[in-house]
């Protein structure tokens, strides 16, 4: 799976591959432990344990005595497994609704704009499809995780 994180030197793209219970990236392989920690094995066989916690959009990671804050750049609904459900990435206010039910949209189309923490977040179609329903109007407050629109993938 592919993710973007913000760093002082600009966005970083990370793509991790999964095989069985194991994720890999370059020479690193990682598995999720029962207690939610990550077991990271380096190419030389060295094992590290990573602690992670997500606060808002930021993944906090502790590894080898270092602590990192990695803000995930929210790709709208792309790369999610939620099917056509486009959900609010955080609590906020709907600023603008750019599509209506029945409209045909293509992947990448901005469907809705949210405001949260004084920042704007675009909700983008991950695939081509038809807008089946729009669940909120401009000015509405939304909770984190609620479905904003339903998209029927074509």
């Amino acid at each position: 799976m592919h993710h973007q994180f913000r760093s002082p030197e600009g966005p970083i793209e990370v793509t991790v591959a999964k095989q069985g219970d194991e994720w890999s990236l370059g020479g690193l392989s990682t598995s999720v432990m029962a207690d939610g920690r990550l077991k990271i094995v380096s190419s030389d066989g060295r094992i590290s344990f990573g602690h992670v916690a997500k606060v808002g959009d930021v993944w906090w990671v502790h590894a080898e005595g270092h602590t990192f804050k990695l803000e995930r750049i929210e790709p709208g609904a792309s790369d999610t497994d939620d099917g056509g459900g486009l959900t609010a990435p955080m609590p906020g206010k709907v600023l603008d609704v750019l599509v209506a039910a029945g409209e045909v949209v293509s992947a990448g189309t901005t469907l809705m704009v949210l405001e949260a923490m004084k920042m704007e977040h675009r909700i983008v179609a991950a695939t081509d499809g038809v807008v089946m329903a729009v669940h909120f109007a401009a000015g509405d407050q939304v909770e984190q995780g609620v479905a904003l629109l339903t998209l029927d993938e074509s």
Binding site: M1, H3, F5, I12, V14, T15, V16, K18, W23, L25, G26, L28, T30, V32, G36, L38, I40, S42, S48, G50, H51, V52, A53, K54, V55, G56, D57, V58, W59, W60, V61, H62, A63, E64, G65, H66, T67, F68, K69, L70, R72, M90, P91, M117, Q144, G145
Partner: protein
């Protein structure tokens, strides 16, 4: 013996956070029922749970709560507490409160109001110490209140004190109303600035001059005095490593101490305490010059943040002794018996890479290190929220080991194991500090941090570890660990959304 023996049967702890926890546990172990007081925003704090009773303070600001003397005395009365332990900070060095506590018929866990006053005014303290034969930094007190008179007197005194020098407010503390002056042409401007700051902060513009002793260590002596005529010292702590006048790394013993110097400084500290008829636990701070000369800086008339390092090397439970002494009992400790080496670091919620700016946020993960020789004094737990309301110190991590190199190594391991996520802390800064040559050799002085990192500290992160972190974040996101976490976090009722605090900073 000074007068009758008082009894203490129930202790109100007029403080919060980690020191309140420390004192409440000591009360419990002494078999003394305890009362906590807490502001609304501390309702779910750990110290509230450790007390046998906890009373909510009305009021929103610190002044209306933890500093509200009348309200605190009323709670002591209504709960039947007969002693008040002030901890450190807040009302701990307020002579008027100590006096009010006595007038209310309660026992103050600390020295007399007179002792607090004599040490609280720095010029009075200097004069008292000089009279007691305790060496003070060469300098002069300027008693004039009037601006013009004061400036003239400062100008005249400056020729006798010599450059470089420090101007310090008599009512000062924590660097406020303080100016270093390196050349005569800067004197008047600096004196005006120091007076202005002192008047604004303390309502008292009086300043004094001290020669600036560069390259000195901050070494302080712990003293204990009871009502049975015994005043002792418990050896020294070195607290030279400071950032912005705040101690971050404290140890006992001082790496360069000799038995003879310890005895001389200890005797001076005992003389200082006896000069003000001291009672309870106190700390006499000295500057130790590279020449081996030492000079009185000030006396802190209360328990100190860094008291655990002394406890670990001397085996004396200082808070327990405070309670004994306040109850009129003799202190229980025998002859001084120092053993091994202890180091304390202060864990702050702050961004060490950004001029130590205080940070706030949820303690999404708070996992202290384990293993022998590791002590943690804290008032927070995983799930707590770090707010801008109070001091950003999260915990004190203290290690003991048979020798200084072993203690330093244990501290490295402990800091590496310490996981705090959700709030920025200075853990990595403290960890890198442990690898600095000056810290390793013990050749630290009060300018160490500024000298090592003149342009501010930045973490050194190996590329391989950065890669691990990126991978961890990507895997965590891919595996949906945040969804599982948020389910877990809604397990409790009324847990605040962690989102609200992201990225905000205090002040």
């Amino acid at each position: 013996m000074r007068g009758v023996v008082s009894m203490v049967r129930k202790v109100l702890v007029a403080n919060r956070g980690e020191i309140a926890c420390r004192i409440l546990r000591a009360c419990n172990e002494a078999g003394l029922p305890s009362v906590a007081i807490y502001a609304e925003n501390d309702a779910s704090s750990m110290f509230v749970e450790l007390a046998d009773e906890a009373v909510l303070l009305t009021g929103g600001t610190i002044g209306e709560t933890y500093l509200d003397q009348d309200q605190i005395l009323a709670i002591a009365k209504s709960t039947g507490a007969d002693a008040i332990h002030p901890g450190f900070g807040f009302l701990s060095e307020r002579a008027d409160f100590a006096r009010a506590v006595g007038h209310a018929g309660l026992q103050w866990v600390g020295p007399s109001p007179e002792a607090i006053e004599q040490m609280g005014d720095k010029m009075t303290a200097r004069i008292t110490m000089r009279a007691a034969g305790v060496p003070v930094i060469p300098g002069e007190e300027i008693e004039h209140e009037d601006e013009a008179d004061a400036l003239a007197a400062i100008e005249a005194a400056s020729h006798r004190v010599g450059y470089p020098m420090l101007l310090k407010a008599s009512s000062g503390g924590g660097g406020k109303g303080m100016r270093a002056v390196h050349a005569p042409e800067d004197l008047i401007e600096s004196a005006k600035g120091a007076r202005r700051e002192a008047i604004a902060a303390f309502g008292d513009g009086r300043v004094y001059l001290e020669r600036l002793l560069t390259g000195s260590k901050h070494v302080e002596i712990q003293v204990l005095a009871d009502r049975h005529g015994r005043t002792i010292h418990l050896g020294e702590r070195e607290c030279s490593v400071q950032r912005r006048h705040q101690k971050v790394f404290e140890e006992a013993p001082c790496a360069t101490m000799t038995p003879e110097l310890r005895e001389a400084m200890g005797q001076a500290a005992v003389a200082a305490a006896e000069a003000v008829d001291y009672e309870g636990a106190g700390t006499v701070e000295f500057l130790l010059a590279p020449t081996g000369e030492f000079f009185f800086l000030e006396m802190n008339t209360r328990i100190q943040v860094e008291h655990p390092v002394t406890e670990l090397v001397t085996g004396v439970d200082l808070v327990r002794e405070q309670l004994r002494i306040a109850a009129g009992e003799p202190m229980s400790c025998g002859p001084l018996m120092m053993r091994g080496h202890a180091i304390e670091v202060r864990l702050y919620a702050e961004d060490a890479a950004n001029n130590f700016l205080p940070a706030i946020g949820p303690l999404a993960v708070f996992r202290p290190p384990e293993g022998p020789g590791v002590r943690l004094d804290t008032g927070v737990r995983e799930g707590d929220e770090v707010t801008p309301n109070y001091d950003p110190m999260l915990a004190k991590l203290i290690v003991w080991a048979p020798s200084r190199p072993e203690a330093l190594q244990r501290m490295r391991r402990a800091l590496d194991e310490f996981v705090v996520l959700g709030t920025t802390t200075n853990i990595r800064f403290l960890r890198e500090l442990c690898d600095e040559p000056e810290v390793i050799t013990g050749a630290t002085d009060t300018t160490t941090i500024d000298r090592i990192w003149p342009n501010g500290w930045q973490p050194t992160v190996p590329r391989a570890v950065e890669d691990m972190a990126l991978m961890a974040a990507a895997v965590a996101e891919s595996a949906g660990l945040h969804r599982k976490q948020s389910m877990a976090s809604t397990g409790g009722q009324g847990a605040p959304s962690p989102f609200e605090t992201i990225g905000r900073r205090f002040p």
